[in-house]
């Protein structure tokens, strides 16, 4: 009997981990907590990755669904009610045993619990609450817990859950309300944004309570995150990062995750997969596999929004709606603002340094520290971690450029495009991106003229 039960847990784990794998969020960061000598578990501020799956994504949390027995019929989802897939539901006790068993062996950093909608949203949320409660109170688990707030659930249950978990997230699913209506008929933008706003307000309230009351309970201390599916609907990159920016500003989210759409269902509404063509001169890309490069560019832009002080409409605009697939968003921005370069490393302030391609948060901080003592040269900043391969076109040290180079868009672009960066199949990066070189333009022609004149004289 016992062995039969164990078999069941194994099979359930397979079904429910498989169903949860498209959820991107894996971070275990944002909260520092000690076990204080009892129970099991702690949490570190930076989070810990415990393993990496065959796709290179980190495995930090035991990422499972409570149940994939969903009553909704979202077009993009493998677990929609109209699909014929094996269904399973964990009991709260099973989830606790798995979590503790894995945690003791240092396999995982904690639990990530999502769920399909069983019966209705409130019932599902209650199941999640019961599980988390059991884990925290009975098993005295002090590790990281991330749960989904199920849109449409009773706000009271969401609030009660919030006091037990470290992070809550509520997936936006698709960047615009129209797409959502098209692909997820049971969800509306309103029902998704409502719990998000509720969590945000409660977090602020909880922080304010901490000022007068030292031991006020912490509400979702690691903040909330969300996720958008990229490439299932025809939104442009500009629309997507504008949405992300407003989520950061208006809902004070910790993270927005982007998930390259992987077709798990055949459906006519999804057949209109947009082909990404970032530049007019680039032929339409053949759609092979999930749009991973696009996802990568969006993450790069996301970092620029959060850590580099960029605004969404600096990176893209109505005119240029998608990211350049050859260049990262920062290089792309720098090339369009060459008038602001070159920047003197020894004088520019921190935020200006951050705008230089090849200079990151760490190296900018190191530069600011080190230049208090002596003037920095190219060798010094290279040792501090500046990627000179990209930065050299945009900086001066002690008033000098590294090489005598032209500050010219085409010239720099040709040199910047990294041949090693993996580009989608069907595109070669042999340099001629912005403009085809021809015999009759550029400086060669005028230079020859000049020579002729000299000869004549």
């Amino acid at each position: 009997m016992d062995s039969l039960l164990e078999m069941n847990v194994g099979e359930k784990l397979q079904v429910l981990a498989d169903a949860a794998k498209y959820d991107v969020s894996c971070s275990s960061s944002g909260v520092k907590r000690s076990s204080a000598g009892s129970g099991i578990g702690n949490a570190t501020a930076s989070g810990i990755c415990h393993s990496f799956a065959g796709d290179g994504r980190c495995i930090s949390l035991l990422k499972i669904l409570m149940s994939n027995d969903c009553v909704y019929d979202c077009k993009y989802c493998a677990n929609r009610v109209s699909n014929d897939v094996p269904r399973a539901t964990f009991s709260p006790q099973e989830i606790c045993d798995l979590t503790i068993g894995f945690y003791r062996r240092n396999y995982i950093e904690g639990l990530f619990l999502s769920s399909g909608v069983v019966n209705n949203a409130s019932y599902t949320m209650e199941l999640i609450y019961m599980t988390v409660r059991l884990l925290r109170d009975v098993h005295r688990f002090k590790g990281y817990i991330h749960v989904k707030a199920i849109p449409g659930a009773d706000p009271l249950i969401i609030e009660k859950t919030g006091f037990l978990v470290d992070r809550m997230s509520c997936n936006l699913e698709l960047p615009t309300a129209d797409s959502l209506k098209l692909l997820a008929p049971n969800k509306t933008r309103q029902t998704i944004l409502k719990p998000m706003r509720q969590i945000q307000n409660r977090i602020t309230q909880s922080k304010n309570e901490l000022i007068p009351f030292k031991h006020a309970p912490d509400f979702v201390p690691a903040g909330q995150s969300t996720q958008m599916i990229i490439g299932a609907t025809p939104e442009t990159d500009y629309q997507i990062i504008s949405v992300a920016e407003s989520l950061y500003n208006k809902f004070s989210l910790k993270r927005v995750y982007y998930s390259a759409y992987i077709p798990v269902n055949q459906d006519n509404t999804l057949s209109a997969l947009p082909t990404v063509s970032a530049l007019p001169t680039v032929p339409a890309l053949p759609q092979t596999g999930p749009p991973l490069l696009r996802e990568h560019r969006l993450y790069q832009a996301d970092w620029l929004l959060r850590f580099y002080g960029f605004k969404a409409d600096e990176l893209l605009s109505e005119k240029q709606q998608n990211f350049n697939i050859f260049l990262d968003p920062k290089c792309n921005w720098a090339l369009q603002h060459l008038e602001q370069f070159p920047i003197e490393i020894n004088k520019a302030d921190y935020y200006t340094l951050l705008r230089i391609p090849g200079v990151g948060v760490t190296s900018a901080k190191r530069i600011c520290q080190a230049r208090k003592f002596n003037l920095l040269d190219f060798d010094d900043i290279k040792k501090m971690g500046v990627v000179l391969k990209r930065a050299l076109y945009f900086i001066t040290c002690k008033g000098k450029l590294m090489y005598p180079i032209k500050i010219d868009e085409n010239y720099i672009t040709r040199n910047l495009v990294d041949p090693k960066e993996s580009l989608p199949k069907g595109i070669s990066s042999d340099g001629n991106i912005y403009k085809q070189l021809s015999l009759f333009d550029d400086y060669h022609f005028t230079h020859d003229n000049h020579l002729e004149n000299q000869v004549v004289i």
Partner: protein, 254 residues
């Protein structure tokens, strides 16, 4: 010209600090002194070699001086650097301290000085591996209930790993064994942890796992396999994030 004096210190934080102590106390001039690690040095002409035995009292004095005259951050950084698997660390730490005792706490940001930079890089290399190991350590439950883990890290990490796991599993009996350095860190439930050196673990003893162990191992392997999205398979990325040198002690990627 003066002949160069070279102090040969033991490969430990105390050993190097004792070396620094001797280098200061002999008042020979910092320009004519260097520090080298025991067994790592190539003998040179026109040098005098002085072996220095680690002395806790002398090392503590230097340690206190670092915390008082430079800063606690610097002390931590030097400690981390001293655990690195690199032969020139003793000299780098010595030069760091020479400058540090001269100019005080701001020495830490003097990154254009090669020795300061190398101490910083060493400490970064150690903490970076430490962060990885906090995730990559795998315990297995032996049939006597002890959680056992075997490691082969590049740098000497156990002293830094122990506090993390002591906080994480305060009610467990656990043990982490460094098979390269033959040292182990042992934690007793509710009683804190300690280090043991020069020990050999019998393979058979470490392989007598509990009944539950097989089950959880199987579940864990199936979980890591299931969570992979086949359409995104990227072995290179996986290897970058989780270098192969750690794989042999991680059951899910065997």
């Amino acid at each position: 010209m003066k002949t160069r004096k070279i102090f040969i210190c033991e490969d430990s934080f105390e050993g190097i600090l004792t070396g620094v102590f001797e280098a200061y106390i002999c008042r020979y001039g910092h320009d004519f002194i260097s520090l080298e690690l025991n067994g790592e040095s190539q003998p040179q002409f026109f040098c005098e070699y002085y072996p220095v035995a680690a002395d806790i009292e002398k090392a503590t004095k230097v340690g206190q001086a670092i915390r008082n005259k430079i800063s606690f951050d610097a002390y931590e950084m030097l400690h981390e650097a001293s655990l690195a698997n690199q032969t020139e660390k003793a000299e780098a730490i010595y030069r760091f301290l020479v400058l540090g005792f001269k100019i005080g706490p701001q020495v830490i940001s003097h990154l254009s000085d090669p020795y300061i930079l190398s101490v910083m890089k060493l400490s970064k290399a150690v903490t970076r591996e430490l962060q990885r190991l906090e995730g990559f350590v795998r315990f297995r439950e032996l049939d006597n209930g002890i959680m056992f883990s075997k490691l082969a890290p590049k740098h000497n990490q156990l002293v830094l790993l122990a506090p993390h796991f002591a906080d994480r599993f305060p009610e467990e009996n656990w043990m982490i064994y460094d098979e390269h350095r033959k040292i182990a860190c042992i934690h007793k439930a509710g009683r804190g942890w300690g280090m043991v050196s020069n020990i050999e673990i019998e393979k058979e003893l470490a392989n007598q796992v509990s009944e539950e162990e097989e089950l959880y191992l199987k579940l864990w392997k199936s979980f890591t396999k299931t969570i992979t999205i086949e359409e995104r398979r990227n072995a290179r990325l996986q290897m970058n994030m989780m270098p192969k040198m750690y794989w042999k002690n991680m059951p899910e990627v065997e």
